[in-house]
Subunit: 271 residues, 2 copies
């Protein structure tokens, strides 16, 4: 059985102009939930193997970036897709509003500290892209400052890639109606209240401005070395499958191998 | 069905003098593998819930320390017991030989940087205990320096606990024969060669000195607030079960609750 899923269909080609209204928020293709689950499990098992290989090889690292509107499912994607990996080789960083020390530096300073070292998978739940998203929407720095950041981001990501940190970026795409549903759920369940921030509603009111900012980020910063994927995120089983397939496909493409022993294993006697 | 497992049987009482030769390396009690697996899965599911609660509550953190002879299964324990948790709330730190910057500081400096922040579970694969283990066995600092460290460790761990970082410490106990078996396995499997270090055999030759150093560390640093558990580690299903039960039991005992909303959920209308 071949899975009818070409991940390139969801990748933003370098230089393409993104119009989010024309990209699906809900998967509506030939794969059903059952098939997706099976394929997910196979890819997951392979990804776990590839992670160990990358750890053993100790030559490169993988950086996975998640961005989205509130309540689109970033946390849940991390739990489902990153959760199965060996925790010893994974670092998840959730970026919040920068503190005063961080604000005393350039916008990439606090990001750089958390890029994954060799053998590791680093996961960013929000990232340096906030500096051209919320920062732009809320006018936190002048336009002439954030305008230049797209280029700085591309240069930074190119440097990382050239130094063997591979980069994959996912925008979890949902509709405004779907967000309402998810936020309402947080209000309805006492065990989810802690995830609800009344202030989030102010961000929701700026939906159009955020969409525009996302479109610019996706259009300007999807490069050959660090592509953006726009993931239809309203069916979670498809969202997880797509992200998993991109991750496994990337590590597979590196043709890694276990390092050769620097000693002769047959000559060693354990007393 | 009640699980016949009192984790206190494996806890070193404060002030007790540890004789490792008298403590089992291989579990030989009434629980069978099948029962252990079922109990493990139940405890795992509960631990995942408790982890979310701790994250939501944002009041305290948990630090889990693993120490053992080489090839005792530290990596594997982390994979099995910590693996099921939400990776966004976990940080595993594997301590290697200190680098020159770290050596320029007191021995707790590099450790302190990695203690878990509120809501997080921090896992140490090796730890500050190396500074009274390998450092002592290989004479890396004078005895008058490492002698004082037991007390410094206790004070440090007490401070952490008083500041709401709870601490659990596990010594994975194996026999010298079992280590031989595991090391041989690394030699026999090409995909495990990368885990084999010929230099590890030199450490193996110092088995007795290490045992003595471990006995001192376990005897002097098992406190009420930061207990050591000596885990019979040669049956992996029992090892995982015991560690899981201690973790879940600790978080259960904290009687955590989801934080109350600081707003009235019924008054909020999502436009």
């Amino acid at each position: 059985m071949t899975l009818k899923l070409d991940t390139d269909d969801y990748r933003i080609a370098p230089g393409a102009k993104v119009d989010l209204d024309r990209l699906p928020t809900r998967y509506d293709g030939p794969i059903d939930k059952q098939e997706a689950r099976q394929a997910f499990e196979q890819l997951r098992d392979r990804l776990v193997e590839l992670q160990e290989l990358m750890y053993a090889e100790h030559k490169r690292s993988l950086l996975v970036v998640f961005q989205a509107m509130d309540a689109a499912g970033k946390d849940s994607t991390v739990r489902h897709v990153i959760g199965p990996l060996n925790p010893a080789g994974v670092r998840v960083t959730s970026f919040k509003a920068p503190n005063s020390v961080e604000l005393g530096h350039d916008f990439l300073w606090r990001i750089h500290e958390h890029t994954p070292r060799r053998g590791y998978i680093g996961v960013f739940n929000r990232s340096h892209y906030e500096d051209v998203l919320i920062v732009r929407v809320k006018d936190l720095v002048p336009e002439k400052v954030w305008r230049k950041r797209y280029e700085h981001i591309n240069a930074f990501e190119k440097m990382l890639t050239d130094e063997n940190t591979h980069i994959l970026k996912f925008y979890l795409h949902i509709s405004k109606d779907y967000q309402k549903e998810r936020l309402q759920r947080r209000l309805d369940r006492p065990d989810k209240h802690w995830k609800f921030e009344p202030a989030d509603l102010k961000e929701r009111a700026r939906w159009g401005a955020y969409r525009e900012a996302f479109e610019d980020a996706l259009s300007r910063c999807s490069t050959k070395h660090a592509p953006w994927y726009v993931v239809p995120a309203e069916r979670r089983w498809f969202r997880d499958l797509l992200v998993m397939k991109v991750l496994a496909g990337k590590l597979e493409s590196l043709n890694m191998d276990y390092p050769r022993a620097t000693f002769d294993p047959t000559s060693i006697v354990i007393e």
